[in-house]
């Protein structure tokens, strides 16, 4: 079920990674990294956005392609570090 954080993350991903003329829908479980929408090099923008937006620090070993692969997994990661 989507919440506000899901929408915020989804909006950022679409603005940052999807071209205006691309017909790509980003659902909560759409693979982002494994589908090639986001690659490991450009993933850094997403990490920086999440850290600034939610005032958290994501260690490099946690900011993995697996952790960033879907909106769901990204929200889970942010919530884990918000709780710390």
């Amino acid at each position: 079920m989507s919440c506000e954080m899901h929408e915020t993350v989804r909006e950022y991903v679409i603005g940052e990674y999807v071209d205006e003329d691309d017909d790509i829908k980003i659902a909560d479980d759409t693979p982002l990294i494994s589908s090639g929408i986001v690659d490991s090099f450009s993933m850094v923008s997403l990490k920086v956005f999440l850290e600034k937006k939610y005032d958290i620090k994501l260690p490099d070993e946690e900011a993995t392609p697996e952790a960033f692969d879907t909106v769901n997994s990204i929200v889970e990661l942010v919530k884990k570090f918000q709780a710390k």
Binding site: Y17, D19, S35, G36, D39, F41, S42, V44, S45, V48
Partner: protein
Amino acid sequence: MAYSKVARAGFAEEIEAIKSKGLYKEKRFICSPQDAEITVEYPEGAAQEKVLNFCANNYLGLSSHPDVIAAAHKGLDSRGYGMSSVRFICGTQDIHRELQDRLTDFLGTEDTLLFPSCMDANAGVFEAILGPEDVIIADRLIHASLVDGIRLCSAEYDTFKHMNMKHLKQKLELHQGKRNRLVVTDGVFSMDGDLCPLGEMVALAEEYDSMVLVDDSHASGFIGRTGRGVHEHFGVVGKIDVITTTLGKALGGASGGCVSGRRELVELCRQKARPYLFSNSLSPVITAASLKVLEIIMKSTERRDKLEANTKRFREGITAAGLAVRPGETPIVPVMLYNAKLANDMARDMYAEGIYVIGFSFPVVPNGQARIRVQLSAAHEPEHIDKCVAAFRKVGDKYGILGLDKDGIIAKYGM
């Protein structure tokens, strides 16, 4: 024992997985000098065949030019075979200085530093000139060597959508608080053949107080009216802060690369860039031959003009034949196939038709973007190009992809 039976089995399994995905790179052996027509042993152990080469970076046809070879011989006789030293210890000859000066003239910059390769130049330049207070803003499709170099650097980095100047502008605005900004791009993108809109990029960089670095490896020698590169094409010579490029493609095809640009940035590379400090000096043979290459192309635009004509002939022919190609104007022409196995199978069939091309798939290109990347050369004659187009038509027909767009090919073969 570190390499146990279990370890060996594990690695072997990984190799089998690559094969089963259709991503295995087969061995091919060239048994002749590099040229438009080459002799090839493929598969390994098979009888040698004469085929036309459409996948070399030999854009100006200088890789085996008799004058370049003669200059190499002369270099061997006058300056020896190898330096057995890194540059700063006892590895710099007068001809290295001469080549650097000639590249500076050619590229229209302030200074140039040779590296063993452009891969090394890209690995070393960022960490030599930037630090944690700075930011690198890179196009998402830059060459792997630039990605590696950026990752080695302590500066922050960010990326922008491929050739999207609106997105670049947003990133430049976002990072105005950093000490230095460096926008990084390829001049010509190696897998897609796209030409970076460098004029617009430089204008934005000036507006937002940013430096610009361009890797012009697939442009030096033939893009621009006199082949100086993408900066000449867009009328911004003298406005690029760092150009990296290679001597291993159009400019002779052996090896070697350079960082060329603002005097202070080049000097910092000479003082601090690790591949420069820790890797062997460019051999005298290659240095001497490279000087001859620059002499040839600075005297006449005949070769880059012929390449331009060949490119036009091929692009028109392949499009008329019904293959899906990315539009563009450079001699890098990706024939898009999307499915890795299809790309490899078609490349194999093209070889049987006497045309040597390679299928490109992940990780060289993004997943689902497999292609055959055709590269034109000034060494090609019109009949070579027509034979290549005819072979693509025949093989494309066999696989039922003529006239199909991306959706059609994916529907037939999947990604």
